[in-house]
């Protein structure tokens, strides 16, 4: 029985890994050689592919993606945590209403307003900048919902009361007491927002026309079209593009799991 379980798990794991592995292997081949057979062993063309990638404006694009994702994490993290703290630890008039508001806003897909959003951005003069793909993260309903749950469960009321009696200001309580206590939750939310904003394809595809402001996913699907379709170079670019997400995830994987447990599990 134990062997059956292990074999099964190994099979699933291998299937999970295969495409990931192929991506890395492909980045070491000459494009035309990719199609000769399944690239199982590393080839010798990695350096040339890297050259092709970095000869394009990949670094610019990479920085664009980083700027977008880091801003998204900061924005979404801040607004979500603030409203999460407010709804989890205070009693006030519109509390119930705001709770419903968050649940409903979670159900409204961003896509519904995408046309209105693009036109709004043009009117604000943000048309050809990175701002449209950053500002969608300014209010992230899932993050708010997650933070309400998380703060409710992890921040003891007594600590807040004590701080208040000691004369700590409300923003002081938030920054000095609440934030340190909810680090695992913040790490989880940050990981998810980073991941989702980094991999976001639809919004940059329809909002960005200027190749100077491309993010990685949009850029890669256009790489090397001019001369020939260089699949290997694209794979190299993608492998490099996956790297930061992988690092963020591996760095946070321990707290990430903890965070999910405490935050999302309440459903």
């Amino acid at each position: 029985m134990r062997y059956v379980v292990w074999t099964l798990l190994l099979i699933v794991t291998v299937i999970s890994l295969v495409p990931f592995y192929i991506m890395i292997m492909m980045s070491t081949y000459f494009t035309e050689d990719i199609f000769k057979g399944l690239p199982l062993l590393p080839g010798s063309y990695l350096l040339d592919n890297l050259r092709t990638v970095f000869e394009s404006n990949f670094i610019q694009v990479y920085m664009n993606s980083l700027v977008v994702s880091v801003s998204a994490v900061l924005l979404a993290g801040l607004t979500s945590t603030l409203i999460g703290y407010s709804l989890a630890k205070f009693h006030f008039r519109f509390k119930r209403l705001l709770n419903y508001f968050i649940i409903i806003s979670m159900m409204v897909p961003t896509q519904v307003g995408i046309i209105g959003y693009i036109i709004e951005m043009k009117h604000l003069g943000f048309g050809n900048t990175l701002l449209p793909i950053i500002l969608v993260w300014a209010a992230f309903p899932f993050g708010a919902f997650f933070m309400v749950q998380f703060i409710k469960d992890t921040v003891p009321n007594e600590v807040l009361e004590c701080a208040r009696i000691d004369g700590c200001s409300e923003p002081g309580i938030f920054f000095r007491i609440v934030l340190p206590l909810i680090k695992p939750g913040l790490a989880t939310l940050a990981t998810l927002v980073f991941l989702w904003s980094w991999n976001n394809y639809l919004l940059p595809l329809v909002t960005i026309n200027d190749s100077r402001w491309y993010t990685v996913p949009v850029f890669v699907s256009n790489l090397g079209i001019v001369h020939r379709t260089d699949y290997a170079a694209r794979m190299t670019a993608l492998a490099i593009a996956t790297l930061p997400v992988l690092l963020v995830f591996l760095a946070g994987s321990k707290t990430f799991i903890k965070g999910i447990t405490a935050g999302a599990v309440k459903g």
């Binding site: 495409p19 991506m23 492909m26 000769k36 801040l78 709004e120």
Partner: protein, 313 residues
């Protein structure tokens, strides 16, 4: 996040505390109103107009919606495709995800390892997934056909990407492959959250294996299952990345919808009508809103079905 360099304020009167919850909630509410609510409402207004993005808007009432449902067979087909792919993926994700989580949960060693490795697909860029899958299922050079031919299962390769059903199955596979790790992680988290003494008590009472699973684990995981079903239906109805990147996204081709439009999802049609093939902003908004209605309908229905009666909070 932000540093803690705020000036220490003097002790305040109790009354001033009352304003803080509002101040804390304000940034989110403002940002939501500005960047989500306003665009959503504006899009609704646009959906009642005939507008190509530059000229004057002509108010036409519900005509866009009527045209969508009566004169646009592609729209109906895109709903149909989206639903089919969703039906192929959501139940499997729930079942396999839960099963895998349970087996991994009961491992004495390697729990973290399996969880981490199986989460990798979820963090891979969809652009890569699109290309890898179109590469693997290519008729001539694809890994899958080569493998099947070598094993003697087939005499002739299958046109995976050109078939109506095979293309849908491949998209479903992409969705499955990408999201399984996420489901697994959430379920594992849920199982970890169940207090250990519940299991011990069950063991004392002579409950084992399957019995423990169906009587204890499953009911305690109900909230998570509801959460996963509802959210995956919502995101399943918005399917776009996988089909778009399997066809078109890579070769730079402008082919829309895959073979005979069998892979055209609602969002793909929406994007194509409003940004790529044309700039019918009014019509596009109507598509988005119709999808929105569908999403509301499905999320309420799925919540009712999975959460059951008497369990509403």
């Amino acid at each position: 996040m932000t540093g803690s360099s705020l000036p220490q304020a003097a002790p305040r009167v109790k009354r001033t505390i009352r304003i803080w919850p509002y101040l804390f909630a304000l940034p989110f509410v403002l940002a939501y109103a500005l960047f989500q609510l306003y665009p959503v409402l504006y899009s609704f207004y646009l959906s009642l107009n005939d507008w190509n993005g530059v000229g004057a808007k002509t108010f036409i009432g519900l005509k866009n919606y009527i045209d969508l449902f009566t004169k646009d067979p592609l729209f109906i087909k895109s709903i149909y495709n989206t639903l089919i792919i969703m039906v192929m993926t959501v139940p499997l994700l729930i079942l396999i995800g839960m099963f895998l989580a349970y087996t991994i949960f009961n491992l004495t060693r390697g729990r973290r390892l399996f969880q981490t490795v199986n989460f990798l697909p979820y963090i891979t860029t969809p652009v890569a997934i699109g290309f890898i899958f179109s590469f693997m299922f290519d008729w001539q050079t694809g890994t899958v056909n080569q493998l099947l031919l070598k094993l003697g299962v087939l005499d002739e390769g299958i046109y995976w990407l050109q078939g109506e059903w095979t293309s849908r199955i491949i998209i479903a596979l992409m969705v499955l492959w990408r999201n399984l790790g996420y489901f697994l992680a959430i379920y594992l988290a849920g199982m970890t959250a169940i207090p250990q003494d519940v299991y011990e008590a069950a063991k004392m009472d002579g409950s084992t294996g399957l019995h423990t699973f169906t009587r204890i684990t499953l009911p305690l995981l109900r909230n998570i299952s509801v959460f996963l079903v509802v959210t995956s239906i919502i995101s399943g109805l918005q399917l776009f990345d996988e089909p778009k990147l399997l066809y078109g996204g890579w070769s730079g081709s402008v082919q829309v919808g895959g073979p005979d439009n069998s892979a055209l999802t609602v969002i793909w049609k929406f994007v194509d009508d409003s940004f790529i093939s044309g700039t019918r902003f009014g019509y596009g908004s109507a598509i988005a809103y119709s999808l929105f209605l569908l999403i509301i309908l499905f999320s309420i229905a799925s919540y009712r079905l999975t959460a059951g009666k008497g369990d509403e909070r």
